[in-house]
Assembly symmetry: C2
Homo-oligomer: 521 residues x 2
């Protein structure tokens, strides 16, 4: 039992619950600053009732209804998830298209980072050889290739950071003409164009797959390369293992190594140059959230998101199921009715997708979220959207599409960390901000990921695995603004290669996972 002063976090004046901020939780009998006496022990980041709530009363956090009391809840009780009944989600049809209420943020000029400028205007934050695949059939060969390149070629090209083999389970054995197939296909097309690949990604296909490999390159480059080397490496970037020129495995590997070598040669000549912060394309995401996430890490990342947007950059927020219940708060922030309609359309698509699979949004949150004090997806959503900051939403893109506009963009994706990460990469993300409360060693090889910890316990335990400790906000050790600026400055340092994210330091990289709403065959 802790002897320290009882601390709770109440966010909005209307709130009738607050969360326990003491890292060890609070014992029964503890007295809160407002005079409430705990009727039972409450774990850290879990909710306590600040008033007597009759059965059916609205449970209010963030000034919003997160559910109704399942039975009478006396003041001082632990408001456990079982006591909060999930409300109906806002009906999409009834929402007024009353958009344009978020004023533009004031400009923030003068910030820059050192990036790799590409011919298409995008800017890379890493210098990577990308090896895309049109089908999983080639993964075994590509994995052997990646090991050989790393051992035999990479040491000769010191300006190239690494190679990335984008293996995936799509490409064949799938319904390539099903309504959902456009999503994984455009995701692969856009991953091949990722700014950190510098226009030099190579594509390895088999030859008989449904997703024909040359669909991954722009139309005017579509003819396959036999790896003969006759073009001096200026030819199209596609190699098919079934090419009749190859007599066995040795031939394939020789051609692949030649193709990689030519690309490494050119990548090695890339140099960082000063780029305005407006060239940042940041994704924000959360994973393993707890009830602190919505008051520490997410608002701090939201503040940093505002700074990036003010500097002219692009920030994507995502995770449809985690914003669905806060749609009534987001719609007024869309820039105009076209953006508003696009946002509603993505929500409606996902509602139907889940229903077709016999699921709904109650499939979220995860057990760990609940142990972290999040009663349901409404409470999770209210905390989740804090990552988007306060600016107007200027655009909405579908899963796997590429960002077109600067400013705050909603990039519709599932909430699954790796699926969301993959889709944000396809959208052109060159750096990700990732908040976590329970803790995840998440990392992406294609772009730096900065992990922001929401809770004191995690920040202490995982000091080498997280990049920023936002839990100080709950303890009063730092303000949201201060941590937001710290994140923003770290973003510029990491995008410049001056500092490394924890995941890059430790080499912790998750696999990319394509979102395929269609069936496998």
């Amino acid at each position: 039992m802790t002897q320290e002063r009882a601390r709770v976090i109440k966010i909005h004046d209307r709130d009738n619950v607050a969360i326990v901020a003491n890292a060890g939780g609070l014992p029964s009998g503890a007295r809160l600053p407002d005079g409430t006496v705990l009727l039972e022990a409450v774990p850290p980041s879990h909710k306590v009732a600040l008033a007597d709530l009759p059965a059916g009363a609205e449970v209010i956090r963030y000034g919003q209804v997160i559910g109704k009391a399942a039975r009478p809840i006396p003041r001082g009780s632990w408001v456990d998830e079982s006591l909060v009944l999930l409300p109906e989600p806002p009906a999409l049809d009834d929402l007024p298209l009353d958009t344009g209420h978020a004023p533009a943020l004031p400009p923030l000029p003068g910030y820059s980072f050192d990036g790799y400028r590409n011919a298409d205007g995008t800017v890379g934050t890493k210098n990577l050889l990308g090896i895309l695949t049109s089908v999983q059939c080639v993964a075994g060969v590509v994995n052997v290739l990646a090991r050989r390149i790393r051992e035999e070629l990479l040491p000769r090209y010191p300006n190239v950071d690494d190679i990335v083999a984008v293996n995936h389970s799509y490409g064949c054995g799938v319904a390539i003409n099903a309504p959902g197939a456009a999503v994984p296909i455009r995701t692969l097309q856009n991953l091949a164009r990722h700014p950190n690949f510098g226009g030099e990604a190579m594509i390895v296909g088999l030859g008989c797959e449904k997703l024909e490999a040359d669909r991954l390159v722009p139309q005017d480059e579509r003819h396959a390369c036999a790896g003969c080397g006759g073009c001096g490496g200026e030819g199209p970037p596609v190699l098919l293992l079934q090419d009749e020129a190859f007599r066995g495995f040795g031939d394939m590997m020789a051609a692949l190594m030649r193709m990689a070598g030519e690309r490494l040669e050119r990548l090695n000549r890339r140099r960082r140059e000063p780029c305005p912060a407006s060239d940042l394309v940041a994704g924000v995401q959360c994973g393993g959230s707890d009830a602190f996430s919505g008051v520490t890490a997410n608002p701090a990342v939201g503040y940093a998101a505002d700074l990036i947007v003010r500097a002219g950059g692009t920030v994507m927020f995502s995770e449809v199921t985690e914003v669905r219940d806060a749609i009534h708060l987001l719609l007024p922030r869309t820039a105009d009715i076209w953006v508003g309609r696009a946002l509603l359309k993505e929500m409606a698509w996902y509602d139907r997708y889940l229903a077709a699979g016999g699921a709904d949004r109650s499939a979220n949150p995860a057990p760990g979220n609940k142990r972290g004090g999040l009663a349901n997806v409404v409470e999770k959503a209210l905390g989740s959207i804090a990552k988007s900051g306060s600016g107007p939403i200027v655009d909405v893109i579908g899963p796997g599409e590429r960002v077109q506009k600067s400013g705050l963009v909603f990039a519709a994706t599932p909430a699954s960390d790796f699926v969301c990460g993959t889709l944000q990469l396809a959208a052109g993300m060159n750096l990700q901000l990732f908040t976590t409360g329970r803790g995840t060693p998440y990392g992406l090889q294609m772009a730096p990921v900065l992990k922001v910890s929401s809770s004191q316990a995690l920040s202490e335990r995982w000091s080498d695995l997280v990049d920023v400790d936002a839990s100080r906000i709950a303890g009063g050790g730092a303000t949201i603004e201060e941590v937001g600026w710290e994140i923003f400055r770290l973003v510029l340092d990491v995008a410049s290669g001056r500092k490394r994210a924890a995941a890059d330091r430790l080499g912790l990289y998750n696999d990319l996972v394509l979102f395929n709403p269609g069936p496998v065959t």
Copy 2:
């Protein structure tokens, strides 16, 4: 243009089409043995009309209708896929449950192999340390772990073949209570029990994921291990990265390495011993099929399947969409009406699954199949089921379930090579026979895969990538029986570790892919 004698393969007396067997195809004007003169050039393994077919006439191969003529097709024409209209699939409701027509095969005693016998009665063909994961969040850590084990520990345990990290995209960000969720969950549970892991698989979880890690171990072992080592390695095989005992990444890795070391110690003591061929659990599969597949590689594998069944072993065939159109030929081979009903149930489930995703079986075949001469899924299915040999179907298991009976079993899976391979492994497969016509470098790390080539062109080009050349059957250089026996003997040698499969020799391994019919969230 080839000067060699024109050769075609006609399978059944009723057939009104045959496929060109000459490796270079046949030119216009070539005269077939039956007197048919080609009206146009026909590529190898493509079909030629042996009679004038009026519009709407039945096109017959394998003695079965593979479609109807889209327009009048004169004798000697190339019967290209566009000329064959896809027929309706056999309606499942109308099929008579007239089962039990395949007589039991004669026993074949006296064959054995040297395997690793496990406490649960299963037999391993490799000696592997399995590292299962409950969620993709841990993949980055597990990949670093796998590299460290391979470099630091494995050299000390020469009797252990390798380590296998079973990463996957399931476990969180999914609808864990959706109707389809049972499939990926039982798949992971059964992969953990795979015979080649010798009962020593370790499970790495995060801690807050929806698929709680201890669900991957049998009920009586379900309490998580903090990796303290206090139990001397006899404790439960689950380690959670979020365990509060870990102060950062170094602690996690130390505990994981300790856990792995204890298991490697025990695995290293395993020894091969003579086991009857009845301990074989073989899967058969095809990938990148052509029109030769159904007359060379698939029948040869079918003959070998019969030999394994006659020796008392188990053979699984799979790939629902590729047998769906031959259901009327399979149903009479089911042992009794219970097996027949189970077979129909799996077909009906898949029909519904595809329809829900806006697809149907016409999503198969792939473009490469078509270039290989397969007009549609009916023709593909008729060739595909040849892999199952001629014995009675004694059981049907659902995706991810474990085989229970010896003999020929239908293991319902999608046709996607990696999804099917993963599900056959979960079923307990200790060796796979894989036929290919177009060529794929497919391999599985968990069990040996023997690749059987259907065409002469592929066998010549990929001599180091395929294990058995079945194309000799088309050229008259070997009979189906001879190649079948060759495969059977090779199975016993490879299962014994005396010979290595091409994929193992070259280190070509595809990733496992879970079948998740449910939505992601």
